[in-house]
């Protein structure tokens, strides 16, 4: 098949979740299909400033066409419009304006879909919230497959999404919860659809403790991996963790591996390592007592899957349905909805080592069952074939 993948940013140096998902899938699809990625020149997800050269290139068997971003994101206008459309009963016009302000504003990409959309058998769109998907998908709806990467954040409540979610010819969801959320917003069961998640290779052999010891990290420790950001729930994690210690909870260290976008409290039991290389990251994952995922909004947590890939039990924010659902399906960890539940669950993981280890192994078994690449690609191929058959 001739496939197009539409994504707001694309490149091996881009760390975003949906962007990495798109690249990994596009490169694997390229083994069997003719794959073209339609994307922008942007590298920065805040401003969308043009950075990559315009035009055609080919990387890892995938053809890439980059279109210029017409104007950078106007942050103040976008923030104000977000307040307006999320907190009031705004008109469809104002909601559409929100998608325009969110960007990246790439009219030439839309032109390409208008002029050449029929050249592709199927067009896959990542992330409904961006201009590229919101305005691009309706232009090729009869052959469009949407990967919404939807989370239970304010944007999902916009009224204009009800008709939008009904338009694609097929759907690929990351979790069953995401599928239910998008179906609920569309007001009907969406078909054909498949829950694919994301693929993972088996973890490397368990490294010894030397990399962890070199950092002076005492056992047992609780690990957070990823950007240290308010949107990821890190401020609440700090509050709950410090409350746990203040109230005499079992002593442990919170280790943070990732760039900090918010201040990290100065406390002897909180260690912020900043960006770490793969070897240190693997050692941390292999020796953590538990991996904490505090994010309130997730369509799929790759960090959670990586933790289970290393047989580490998880401690996740139960207010995020996706995380709670993943943990329940995997039997791979515990969840919390308050500071007290956080402390109780952390205490259990620290004081029940054999059972905690079993939770981690159950998580690994879940990854083996659901998230190895051959399983994921089989689901993707079957869905794409079904959409194509229905079209013809």
């Amino acid at each position: 098949m001739k496939l197009a993948c539409v994504i707001h940013r694309y490149g091996p140096d881009i760390a975003g979740g949906s962007e990495a998902h798109c690249r990994q899938l596009a490169e694997r699809l390229a083994a069997r299909h003719d794959v073209t990625v339609l994307t922008t020149r942007a590298r920065d997800y805040v401003t969308w400033a043009n950075a990559y050269p315009e035009g055609r290139s080919r990387v890892n068997g995938v053809d890439i066409i980059r279109f210029p971003v017409r104007r950078q994101r106007r942050l103040k206008a976008f923030a104000d419009l977000s307040d307006e459309v999320f907190e009031t009963r705004s008109s469809p016009e104002r909601q559409e304006a929100w998608f325009r302000e969110n960007g990246p504003d790439v009219p030439l990409l839309l032109e390409h879909l208008r002029a050449h959309g029929d050249d592709y058998d199927l067009v896959l769109f990542w992330s409904y919230r961006y201009y590229t998907s919101y305005f691009g998908l309706p232009l090729v709806a009869d052959r469009a497959v949407l990967l919404p990467t939807a989370e239970e954040d304010p944007a999902i409540g916009l009224d204009v999404l009800e008709p939008y979610f009904g338009k694609p010819a097929g759907y690929l969801f990351l979790t069953p919860e995401e599928g239910e959320l998008v179906s609920r917003r569309a007001g009907r069961r969406l078909e054909p659809a498949a829950v694919i998640g994301a693929g993972l290779d088996p973890a490397p052999p368990r490294p010894d403790r030397s990399a962890v010891d070199a950092l002076g990290i005492a056992q047992p420790f609780l690990l957070y991996v990823g950007r240290i950001d308010r949107n990821k729930g890190c401020h609440t994690l700090f509050e709950y963790f410090l409350e746990h210690l203040d109230e005499g909870g079992i002593d442990t260290t919170l280790v943070l591996a990732g760039p900090a976008k918010i201040p990290v409290p100065a406390h002897p039991r909180i260690r912020a390592l900043g960006f770490v290389d793969d070897a240190v990251r693997d050692a941390l994952l292999a020796h953590a007592r538990a991996l904490v995922v505090p994010s309130p909004y997730e369509s799929l947590s790759i960090a959670l899957l990586e933790g289970w890939n290393h047989a580490v039990p998880a401690l996740v924010n139960g207010d995020c349905r996706v995380l709670e659902g993943q943990v329940q399906r995997a039997n791979g960890g515990l969840y919390y909805r308050s500071a007290k539940e956080f402390s109780e669950a952390l205490t259990w993981l620290l004081s029940h080592e054999p059972q905690a280890r079993t939770l981690g192994l159950q998580g690994l078994a879940y990854v083996e069952r659901e998230y190895r690449w051959e399983v994921v690609m089989d689901r993707v191929e079957r869905l794409l074939a079904e959409v194509r058959t229905r079209r013809s």
């Binding site: 923030a79 104000d80 307040d83 307006e84 999320f86 907190e87 009031t88 009963r89 304010p154 409540g157 009224d159 069953p176 829950v195 207010d319 943990v327 329940q328 399906r329 039997n331 791979g332 960890g333 515990l334 969840y335 909805r337 308050s338 007290k340 539940e341 109780e344 669950a345 259990w348 059972q355 079993t358 939770l359 159950q362 078994a365 069952r369 659901e370």
Partner: protein, 153 residues
Amino acid sequence: MPQSQPPVVPVDTVMAELQDRVRNRLRAELLQHGASRALEDPEVFAEVERVLREAASRTSVRALLLPEFLGDPAGWRLEPALTYPSHRGAMAATMIRGVKQRLLMPALRWLFEYSHDNFVRQQRVNHALFACVQELAIQNAELRRELGRRADR
């Protein structure tokens, strides 16, 4: 996504035990600080917790009825976004708006961001309270309907 074999450590069982412990601890703390004696009954407490938790999870303004009856939104709604209105003519308004945006705003940004965060939090609490009132009104309506049915029998 079916489970291939029963788990050795079932998450639901562990979570039920943990949540029960937390609930009992919380109930004891509330009672110790003078909460209603009705909460001494663990079943009542669990039901109250369920109602409030459910309400707190449905705070999207599009899912709330009460705002429809509060009249003109300008009279009650918090406006976290900062606007630069002016009653002057177009030329003067543009100049004054420019001064506000380019000179005053950068100097006062810290104050604006502090206020903005607090407005957003207050808005969240307002919506949670709206949702609680809505949930209680629904339950009240359902109970009235049930009482009516029983009276008709």
